[in-house]
Amino acid sequence: MIDVEQLRNRYSGRDEDTLKGLSFSVEPGEIFGFLGPSGSGKSTTQRLLIGLEKGHRGAIRLFGRPIQEWNAALYRRIGVCFELPNHYAKLTARENLAVFAALQGIENRRRIDAVLDQVGLLADADTRTARFSKGMKIRLNLARALLPEPDLLFLDEPTSGLDPVTAGRIKSVIQDRQAAGTTVFLTTHTMQDADQLCDRVAFIVDGELKQIDAPSVLKQRFGEDSLTVRHVRAGRVMTSRFPLQELANNADFQALLRTDRIEQMHSQEASLDDVFIRVTGAALI
């Protein structure tokens, strides 16, 4: 679906490449997470993949065809949902989608109500978007991206800054699209989303790919399951963390059990955040 080989990009006036030879592939039907801190090159990569930037070196192939050979017809096959709203504030949700449906060449008017329904905005279809909350605006962005029934969906931070209910709704739409056969390229710095949604994730830091694999594999390879204990020592409440592996032989843990009063104890699976920090040495901001 997407094949990228030795992708390099440099903005004018910069001494250094923003992207330093990225190579990866996205298979049909998978949700591929592209993870990295702000300024790591995630958005630049996405903008190159969707044809909003030029000047790259290396190869990009979409649907098996080099991106240079694509024309605007590509936009009938992909949908793009940005982190920030992209619609007319003084038009209603339905009017906004009607404009973009016409621009996409979509003649089936029922498609508008269908996508509004998918993202849970049908009841607010005739409300001007200026009155929408942030979550509703992002859902409308997603609805716009879904209009052409895309084979490939690009999502840029789709749950950033949203309340858990709205974020959950968006994640459920993404999973529905995957079930319907859509490939999803998800750009995010929210590891929890990536862990929940993605079949594979790529870690990008300073324009370089550090790892690509399934979240579960990465957690197994680089993560460390642990036991967190809240205990009281000499009247002071303390928290200690021990690796689950070889716990029975851990002298510090055994000493703690003998000497301190245990208040709480729970095991914790390694998170993708921990793996990211361990692999890249960078924190997600």
Binding site: I50, G51, L52, E53, K54, G55, H56, R57, I67, Q68, E69, W70, N71, A72, A73, L74, Y75, R76, I78, V80, F82, L84, P85, N86, H87, Y88, A89, K90, L91, E95, A98, V99, F100, A101, A102, L103, Q104, G105, E107, R144
Partner: protein
């Protein structure tokens, strides 16, 4: 075609709901009232001055305002991700904005002067409106904040002002008639009653300025609305 009609429809709603139509109408009626205070014999002269200044002020302000609104709303990014050619966006806005400005100028002219006086000068009003609409779009595409708009308006003022000096008879020779609003203003002096050769020359020059402005809007503006597909890296 459906896409272009949808764009026109969206732009028309935008103009109406953002209050551009109301603002233009109120401004025009204020000018009508003020022009009625002048002696009837002088009204044609004052109409030219007012029409020229009013149209360029509204064109720059509305064009820049719409450009700024586009940036705030993020709509151009979404437009670029559709198969619709970039040119259609500029065309629909130019058509709507110049249409609004032409309507205001016609209202102003017909409420102030007799029909027979206005009729031979109609092309001038249309030329002024198209030029002002494109100049406004140019500002909207090139400038990203209010400070830039104020500076650009101040710096470009001589460009807009010179034709008025020619129109008012304060500057002789061809110099005042070489600038972007000249053709429109020249038509307002004697209109179709002028010498056909002079009219042809100055109208051609005005159309040239319109083409240059359109080219700057469509091709060279930093906020280009086209996508990059089909271009070699």
């Amino acid at each position: 075609m459906t896409a272009w009609l949808a764009l026109l429809n969206a732009e028309a709603r935008l103009f109406w709901r953002q209050g551009l139509v109301a603002a233009a109408l109120v401004l025009t009626l204020v000018w009508v009232a003020l022009l009625h205070l002048t002696p009837p014999a002088d009204r044609l002269f004052w109409l030219g001055l007012v029409a020229g200044m009013d149209v360029i002020a509204m064109g720059l302000l509305f064009g820049f305002g719409l450009g700024l609104l586009d940036q705030v709303q993020g709509t151009p990014t979404a437009w670029r991700l559709t198969p619709t050619p970039a040119l259609w966006f500029s065309l629909s806005r130019t058509l709507l904005l110049s249409g609004l400005l032409t309507a205001c100028l016609l209202l102003l002219a017909f409420l102030v002067l007799p029909f027979a006086t206005v009729w031979p000068r109609l092309p001038g009003l249309v030329l002024l409106a198209i030029q002002a609409a494109l100049a406004g779009q140019l500002f909207g595409r090139w400038l990203s904040d209010l400070n830039g708009f104020i500076l650009a308006t101040a710096l470009s003022a001589p460009l807009w002002a010179l034709p008025f000096l020619g129109y008012a008879g304060w500057l002789d020779g061809p110099l005042p008639w070489l600038w972007p609003l000249s053709g429109g203003l020249y038509w307002l002096t004697e209109g179709a009653l002028s010498s056909p050769v002079s009219l042809a020359w100055i109208t051609g020059l005005q159309l040239g300025w319109i083409l240059v402005s359109a080219g700057l809007v469509e091709r060279l503006a930093p906020r280009h609305l086209g996508h990059r597909l089909g271009e070699r890296s």
